[in-house]
């Protein structure tokens, strides 16, 4: 996973609550075998018209937001399906930072597995970011994970909270599977004494069918 330290970039707003992961990457694209290539599919149904042409009304298609890498959003961002295709799409589109007042749990968790920084700010702070983004074309924000700040170089400076462990993982781009495997001895010891795994009942009668 690529580490995350600091990032400065153009801001794009999605002014809608409860944006679900079905909306980010529709189901027909969950049949692919890769983790890459989902950027062009992000927000597919909103972004493209029936014939496949870009929908000029969808905000990410506005010329002023082209090349955005910081996404500001509303409450409960990423609700619904657990599909990691959603954060893959967010990242592949070019977003490294998402800022919202709240997130759905699974999406939030998935962001950290992919080097995306999901920042949580108070609703009035997010409102202020929406105002500034809409007021000024080319509005940029800087996110500094080490110092836990969001700033715009124009007087705005917000501090955000983040779990220290997740911060560390993201800063260093650590492989969490490798970290867990360091506890191999503990896992093996647990397996020996744990009833639910020690007693694995082979099917007595799989409805009289082998599969």
């Amino acid at each position: 996973m690529q580490p995350f330290d600091k990032h400065t970039g153009l801001v794009a707003p999605i002014d809608r609550v409860n944006v679900d992961t079905d909306q980010m990457i529709p189901k027909q694209f969950c049949k692919l075998l890769t983790r890459e290539g989902y950027g062009k599919l992000l927000f597919f149904d909103w972004r493209y018209l029936d014939g496949g042409a870009p929908n000029p009304e969808f905000i990410l298609n506005w010329p002023r937001y082209r090349g955005a890498s910081v996404l500001i959003a509303r409450d409960n961002f990423g609700c619904g399906s657990s599909r990691e295709h959603a954060p893959w799409g967010v990242l592949d589109y070019g977003f490294r930072v998402v800022i919202a007042p709240s997130y759905a749990d699974i999406f939030y968790n998935n962001c950290f597995k992919n080097g995306i920084l999901p920042i949580t700010l108070a609703p009035d702070q997010v409102d202020e970011l929406f105002r500034r983004t809409e007021a000024k074309e080319g509005y940029q924000l800087s996110a500094d994970l080490m110092n836990q700040t969001v700033s715009d170089g124009n007087g705005l400076l917000f501090r955000f909270e983040i779990d220290p462990f997740r911060k560390e993982i993201l800063l260093k781009g650590l492989d969490d599977i490798g970290m867990s495997l360091q506890h191999e001895a503990k896992i093996s010891a647990f397996e020996k004494s744990h009833p639910a795994t020690a007693e694995m009942f082979e099917p007595v009668d799989l409805y009289k069918v082998e599969n």
Partner: protein, 473 residues
């Protein structure tokens, strides 16, 4: 020791490692995988030179993209076929038990796990699918994970987890006739909202929950994620034990008694503290119908489509406006006046035998309305399908004009060719009414199997309580 919740007990029983300031490492008892979210996890595993640690605790299923008819014919959807082939290959290489689309035990992973007794009380269960919460009905801690976490569980049989907050949802009182588990969970989501359970594991309790069958409890737990909670659970009781006895993966004889005794210890202690408590009265729940584009946008069948102007919060108001525009509904329209184009009875929420029996009771001797373009019944598993056919339910459905299909996720998610066309409106027993969920531009109304069946007959929503159908589920 301080009184503990069911969640606290399962958590404690699965702690492999705990360290201050870090997520715990918890052991995973059962790992379900399917063709949709697992290929990248196996690819990552291979790229890192890692092995599947416990193929014996991992169960693979083909469900999301499987065709629900003509399964003996070649798969025409090449991307879906590639996923099936990759799952088959991964299972074969690693020794994971696979229920492929031709297995007689195939079905939706959340239907099959409990049905075969792979799911048991007190277990930790994960799957790369948010409706894994279903398995919590048996008193297990079960939740959906992303693909990176699938890879983590394949490699370590563990997961790094922060402890969740706990929420008790107590549904007291007696469920009136015609009111199903689906109406209970939709009413709960309507009350707490689709983010009301965020950060929480829900325990469902109260007289109305205890009175539910196991299948009803699965319907309730299934939609916990639609309230934002990753997991929902019902404490195991004699209903749970009776359900599990004789299931293929469940121990027999003396071993069964020992297992049952252990299962029954997984209940919250008296006076256990929950971070949040929510209370509902089952007697006051009416049949529920969603009107918007998330499961929290729900109302009684006797109500009208709400006026967005009634929402004081500007964000909620704008959400309701967008939803009504997408749904092509006018504020003030009585719910029972909304016409339906297609009906879908199926999904991991409502495709079990009791759901099909309930729908069949409504349909028996009647005909699907001529205004309905398609009415589909998709059993949750092939075991359910066979059982239904033995009971003659398939004939009741087909004689009424329903299509009777093979098992899979089908029109709930539309990854196969069971798609709701643009602009069309469904009465669906599934779990999500998001924009485009059943097909691009499609409009979904979530209802119970009784309500979906009645909508198919009438061509529009009706208050099932007026039909005098006994509705156990």
């Amino acid at each position: 020791m301080a009184p503990r919740t069911l969640y606290g007990k399962i958590w404690q029983a699965h702690l492999v490692r705990e360290a201050p300031g870090q997520p715990a490492l918890i052991y995973i008892d059962r790992h379900f995988i399917h063709e949709g979210t697992s290929p990248q996890a196996f690819a990552g595993l291979k790229a890192a030179g890692r092995k599947v640690r416990r193929p014996d605790l991992t169960f693979a299923m083909m469900d999301h993209s499987v065709p629900t008819r003509d399964r003996h014919l070649p798969i025409l959807d090449e991307t879906a076929k590639a996923q099936f082939d990759v799952l088959w290959q991964n299972a074969r290489e690693t020794g994971i038990r696979l229920f492929d689309m031709h297995s007689r035990n195939q079905g939706i992973v959340h239907v099959v796990g409990p049905e075969l007794g792979i799911t048991q009380p007190g277990q930790t269960i994960v799957c790369g699918d948010s409706h894994t919460s279903t398995h919590g009905a048996l008193g297990a801690l079960a939740f959906g994970i992303g693909t990176s976490e699938i890879e983590h569980v394949l490699a370590t049989q563990c997961l790094q987890q922060f402890r969740s907050r706990t929420m008790l949802v107590r549904v007291d009182g007696k469920r009136p006739s015609g009111i199903t588990a689906k109406d209970i969970i939709l009413a709960i989501i309507g009350k707490i909202g689709i983010a009301g359970g965020t950060g929480h594991v829900i325990e469902y309790g109260g007289e109305a929950i205890r009175a539910l069958s196991m299948e009803g409890r699965m319907t309730v737990c299934n939609m916990s994620i639609e309230a934002g909670a990753r997991a929902g659970m019902v404490p195991p009781d004699q209903t749970t034990v009776a359900y599990l006895e004789g299931k293929p993966f469940v121990p027999r004889g003396n071993n069964f008694q020992a297992a049952a005794d252990r299962w029954l210890s997984f209940v919250s202690d008296p006076n256990a503290q929950f971070d949040t408590v929510v209370e509902l009265d089952a007697a006051r729940i009416a049949p529920q119908v969603t009107w918007g584009t998330n499961p929290g946008m729900v109302t009684d069948v006797t109500a009208r489509v709400p006026d967005p102007g009634q929402f004081a919060d500007p964000v909620l108001r704008s959400g309701a406006e967008k939803a009504l525009e997408y749904m092509a509904l006018r504020p003030g329209t009585p719910i029972v006046d909304i016409p339906v184009d297609r009906v879908f009875i199926g999904s991991c929420t409502n495709s079990r035998i009791e759901d099909l029996r309930a729908a069949a009771r409504v349909v028996a001797g009647k005909k699907v309305s001529r205004t309905i373009k398609q009415a589909l019944v998709v059993p949750g598993s092939r075991v359910v399908k066979v059982q239904a056919e033995q009971e003659g339910l398939d004939r009741i459905f087909t004689e009424a004009g329903f299509e009777w299909r093979d098992a899979g996720c089908s029109m709930c998610i539309g990854m196969n060719d069971d798609i709701l066309p643009p602009g069309e409106r469904s009465a669906s027993t599934s779990n999500r009414n998001f924009e485009g969920r059943q097909g691009r531009g499609s409009r979904t109304h979530l209802v119970s199997p009784l309500m979906a069946a009645a909508a198919a007959i009438a061509g529009h929503f009706v208050d099932i309580r007026d039909w005098n159908v006994d509705g156990n589920e």
